[in-house]
């Protein structure tokens, strides 16, 4: 158990500290960093999916006025470490996916760099490629482990026997599409290599973590941490795609090394982001449920098939939430991958839980229908007393409260379907879940400076609110007014901080700040002198290993389907969450409704239409890759229950960045089913999938 901070600033609805700068457009992002005499870089990308670059004709390009450097696999410097094939840019002639980086042009203007890069003639030795995922491929394999260190497969009891013996069984296959993170700010870097001494590299990079970013760059270039500084005060969104650096960062650093003393800027175009910035793998989920006639599960199983790149493995942990969500004596989960000649998948908001709560939550609705039981009631009947996976008690689990309160607020009781003029109306529900995580490394400093408390930590604010809530936590830990506290983040000059990922930022950095603040008070008392300073590590914070910490939630959807055209509208989206203590209701609400909107987007709109012939996303720009727009979002509400969890951390917070996207798509599918009778098991839910069933 941890002593929870006495909340004073915590819980206050404070406006964003960085809000005004952003509204005025004066917050500087990586690409806009004011530097002297910048040069501009533009990548050259492979136009085949597999083979070798045999020649690149760069002579004409290099001779052009204004072109400063043309780097290719044939002339680029050799990097210190090439074991991570994503980062080994221009280190060899092999092409592993279409769009792979095979060169970079640096020029006096971005227009020139782009024109020259696009004009370079490349000769290839092309090999046939293999880029189509399916569940019946003979070469599916079990990875050693799946993302976040989870086991690939788990099994308990005998699912097959339970399926054979059960009163009711359900066996269905669901699939989620390929998705691209597409933050508003593209992946962008300004890099300056100063060659004096041993050399020093400054990167203004759009990243979810300056320290992990630096560590990767040091590794690849064989530099000491002291030789590299990464600066990133503001991030225009990342959704996981800036959690680890991608090849573009290494390419920019390489280009800067070729032009010492000259800052080099590179921003991926929107189209390039569909090749180089990670994405969520499509998933195929075979679900099995067995239950008695009262809806008590006797078996739950998920078998997941998804893809990775032959260049580098990433295994999304899609089956993981099924392991702990509902009680059942017999359980199984498996993950199988197809390694393809495709770009490298990576983190996207709630990797694992987001796709992994689609199949199960639609299956629960299907089972409820089959049994004639209310879907909320079905979930309540399968509520586990302890974590079914680990056997540990929950740190707090309020799924049932979320479902009940949501039902009340939404007006769930009564018929789930009716017709309103030209519109078929239906309602749906699904559960949300997200693990409460804390990273192992993060350090904070607290200093008394000119009458103010200044805390420093290399944390990142991707628009999430860290700039605003870290001072709230620090103020309560110090017992001072939040207005007297500054927290500085986004620079490797500050103490090391973990990545903003896994909804762990607040839990991790907040814990380090609390340790530092308490250390500060212990050392210097209530009346410090100017310059007094203390530091604290997250590993000094209390840690509870005896409970299973998760956030839970319930999402409710009203869907309307046009009886003539099948057009789908979602006028109402309501979520209730149990996410521990909310540090700032304003930024928390923004995270939750943002997640829900992204979940709606996944349900109805987003779909990287994969063209296996070319091995690329066909609709690779934002005019054709649809993301939910304002007009698609009606009334959207996020509520949270008052939850006191003394086991998670000193703030009592569970992390809120990801849970909002978990379960939404299932709730939409369930609502559309109520409205039309059509169960769309393969996302997205588009009108063509409903047409034949319309009146």
């Amino acid at each position: 158990m941890t002593d929870l901070l006495e909340p004073r600033a915590i819980g206050a609805d404070l406006v964003r500290r960085d809000g005004e700068l952003k509204v005025r457009g004066t917050a500087t992002y990586a690409y806009e960093t004011p530097v002297e005499h910048p040069a501009y870089a533009h990548p050259v990308q492979a136009t085949i999916a597999r083979g070798r670059v045999t020649a690149m004709d760069t002579a004409a390009a290099e001779a052009l006025d204004g072109v400063l450097a043309v780097l290719t696999p044939f002339n680029a410097e050799r990097l210190a470490a090439t074991d991570d094939a994503e980062y080994a840019v221009l280190q060899g002639q092999d092409v592993g996916f279409r769009g792979q980086l095979i060169g970079v042009v640096v020029a006096e203007t971005s227009e020139l760099a782009r024109e020259v890069a696009d004009g370079i003639t490349v000769r290839y030795e092309e090999l046939p490629h293999d880029a189509e995922l399916s569940a019946d491929r003979p070469d599916l394999y079990a990875p050693e482990q799946v993302n976040a260190g989870h086991e690939t497969d788990t099994a308990e009891g005998d699912v097959a026997a339970a399926m054979a013996a059960a009163e009711v069984t359900l066996e269905r296959t669901y699939s989620t599409a390929m998705y691209h993170n597409n933050p508003l700010e593209p992946h962008a870097t300004t890099a300056l290599w100063e060659s004096a001494g041993d050399g020093f590299l400054t990167l203004w990079d759009s990243t979810q973590g300056v320290h992990p970013d630096r560590a990767a760059v040091c590794q690849v270039f064989g530099l000491e941490q002291e030789q590299v500084r990464v600066i990133c005060p503001y991030v225009g969104g990342g959704f996981g795609s800036k959690g680890l650096p991608h090849a573009n960062v290494m390419l920019t650093a390489l280009a800067a090394r070729a032009l010492p003393g000259r800052p080099v800027k590179l921003a991926l175009t929107r189209q390039q982001m569909f090749f180089l910035a990670g994405y969520r793998t499509p998933t195929i989920q075979r679900m099995q449920l067995a239950a008695d006639s009262r809806g008590r599960l006797s078996a739950i199983a998920i078998d997941v098939v998804e893809q990775t790149s032959k260049v580098k493995e990433f295994a999304e942990q899609t089956g993981v939430p099924t392991r702990m969500m509902y009680a059942s004596p017999n359980r199984r989960s498996t993950h199988r991958l197809a390694a393809l000649d495709v770009p490298i998948p990576s983190w996207m908001r709630a990797p694992g839980e987001c796709p992994g709560m689609f199949g199960p939550e639609v299956a629960m609705d299907e089972l409820a229908e089959e049994l004639g039981i209310d879907p909320i009631e079905l979930r309540v009947r399968n509520e586990p007393d302890v974590d079914p996976e680990t056997g540990k008690p929950w740190s707090s689990r309020n799924l049932v409260r979320c479902l009940r309160e949501g039902a009340e607020r939404f007006g769930w009781s009564g018929p789930r379907a009716h017709r309103d003029g030209d519109w078929l109306v239906g309602t749906g529900v699904a559960s949300s879940v997200y693990p409460t995580m804390r990273q192992a490394t993060s350090t904070a400093n607290v200093r008394f400076e000119d009458g103010r408390y200044v805390a420093e930590i290399g944390a990142a604010d991707l628009g999430t609110g860290a700039w605003t809530i870290l001072p709230q936590i620090t103020a309560d830990a110090l017992g001072v007014d939040v207005a007297d506290v500054d927290v500085r983040i986004g620079d490797t000059r500050y103490p090391v901080a973990s990545v903003a990922g896994g909804s762990s930022g607040t839990n991790t950095w907040g814990s380090a700040l609390v340790v530092a603040a308490r250390e500060f008070r212990t050392k210097f008392g209530a009346d410090p002198r100017d310059g007094d300073e203390a530091s604290g590590d997250v590993d000094q914070a209390g840690q509870d290993d005896t409970h299973s910490p998760y956030a839970f939630g319930a999402q409710f959807v009203e869907a309307r389907v046009n009886a003539d055209t099948g057009e789908i509208r979602v006028p109402r989206l309501l979520g209730v969450f149990g996410v521990g203590r909310v540090i700032n209701p304003r930024t928390a609400r923004s995270q939750l409704i943002g997640g829900m909107t992204m979940g709606l987007s996944m349900a109805l709109h987003e779909n990287s239409a994969w063209d296996p012939r070319l091995a690329q996303v066909a609709n690779h720009d934002l005019a054709e890759y649809h993301i939910t727009v304002n007009a698609d979002v009606g009334a959207i509400e996020a509520h949270w229950i008052d939850e006191h969890d003394p086991y998670v951390n000193a703030m009592g917070s569970k992390g809120i960045g990801e849970i909002g996207i978990v379960g939404t798509a299932a709730a939409v599918v369930n609502a559309v089913h109520a409205a039309t009778g059509v169960r769309v098991r393969h996302l997205p839910v588009t009108l063509d999938k409903l047409l034949t069933a319309l009146p």
Partner: protein, 339 residues
């Protein structure tokens, strides 16, 4: 972006002369389509002639009661014009269904019908495309065909390598309304002025998919005329798309019903050109405009429709979707007792 020369001539005659003199020259109006294509390398002109300030920026009444839309009027302006809203609601609705407020403030009457296809392969210079690079083939056949044609195409699976293959659609909403309204296009060319019926402005791919329209090099649209409609005419535009706003049509319908029960019907998102449904109109001619009659007529129109297979089940859904959308749109225009 390939470097190009930029010219801002004094008047339209000079503009036409400039473009005629340079085989690789283009006109620039609002730039919302052309500038994207310059960036992507889809358009690689040597000379860009800015006509934005040269043609008329006004909507004026014509002597016969029609309206003339100057080529430089913006989509926002035309959509907001009270005369357009009152007499040609189908056009105002079509304009407002297109793009976004910001884009409509820039996009022009001359430029909108001449915007190019949204075929994803057309805008990706690394893939074969007969429209962008004649003779290179058509990547769309068997590919991502959700936004592609079902009418005016040769076969469900044309030869992707043939130089004449193109299954693209014309993406403009405005153009569908103009096709239904029998608008007339005023053109100035090297040989003087001519008028082209709007339904004849765009063409099917034929043996040259690179040409979207019948305009010759250097021909400039100076205005689009809307003919007068009989008093009591009702019209509407219905656009069906994958999200509520800011998306191109999967299919769209422009319908005009005159007081004596004549239906003029145009379809969007289904063909290489805004598709005037002449077959359906013929079937209906002289008949009472009832739901059953309209159903039979649109079935006749769609008899020749060809689904294009492809990614995510292709575009066969458009055929029933068109029929349903036409019915719903026309139903809304019929007098109460008939619907």
């Amino acid at each position: 972006m390939k470097p190009f020369a930029y010219a801002r001539p004094g008047d339209v005659v000079e503009a036409v002369r400039d473009v005629v003199a340079e085989p690789n020259a283009v006109f620039l109006a609002g730039g919302t389509n052309l500038v994207d294509h310059l960036r992507l390398g889809v358009a690689r002109p040597d000379l860009v002639v800015d006509v934005r300030t040269l043609t008329s920026r006004e909507v004026t009444g014509l002597p016969d009661g029609g309206l003339r839309l100057g080529a430089a009027t913006t989509n926002s302006q035309v959509a907001a014009d009270p005369r357009v809203r009152e007499r040609y609601p189908v056009l105002a609705q079509a304009l407002l269904a297109g793009a976004t407020g910001q884009l409509r403030n820039m996009a022009t009457t001359g430029g909108n019908p001449l915007q190019r296809t949204r075929c994803v392969y057309f805008s990706d210079v690394t893939t074969p495309c007969n429209k962008r690079e004649p003779g290179s083939g058509c990547s769309a056949v068997g590919g991502y065909t959700r936004y592609h044609a079902v009418l005016g195409t040769p076969a469900a699976l044309p030869d992707p390598h043939a130089p004449e293959t193109c299954i693209a659609t014309h993406p403009s909403d405005m153009a569908v309304a103009l096709a239904a309204l029998d608008a007339q296009v005023q053109v100035l060319g090297p040989d003087g002025e001519r008028t082209i019926p709007f339904t004849e402005l765009h063409r099917l791919p034929g043996d040259d998919p690179s040409r979207d329209t019948v305009l010759q090099h250097g021909e400039l649209i100076t205005a689009i005329d809307l003919p007068v409609l009989p008093a009591g005419t009702r019209s509407a535009y219905r656009k069906v798309r994958d999200r509520a706003s800011y998306a191109f049509a999967l299919v769209s319908v422009a319908a005009v019903v005159t007081p004596d029960g004549e239906l003029r019907l145009a379809l969007g998102g289904v063909a290489h050109k805004p598709w005037r449904a002449t077959r359906a109109e013929e079937v209906l001619r002289g008949q009472q405009l009832t739901e059953d009659a309209v159903r039979a007529a649109i079935t006749a129109e769609l008899a020749a429709a060809q689904p294009q297979p492809g990614i995510d089940s292709g575009n066969g859904f458009k055929i029933p979707l068109v029929a349903r959308t036409v019915l719903a749109t026309v139903r809304g225009l019929l007098p109460e007792e008939q619907s």
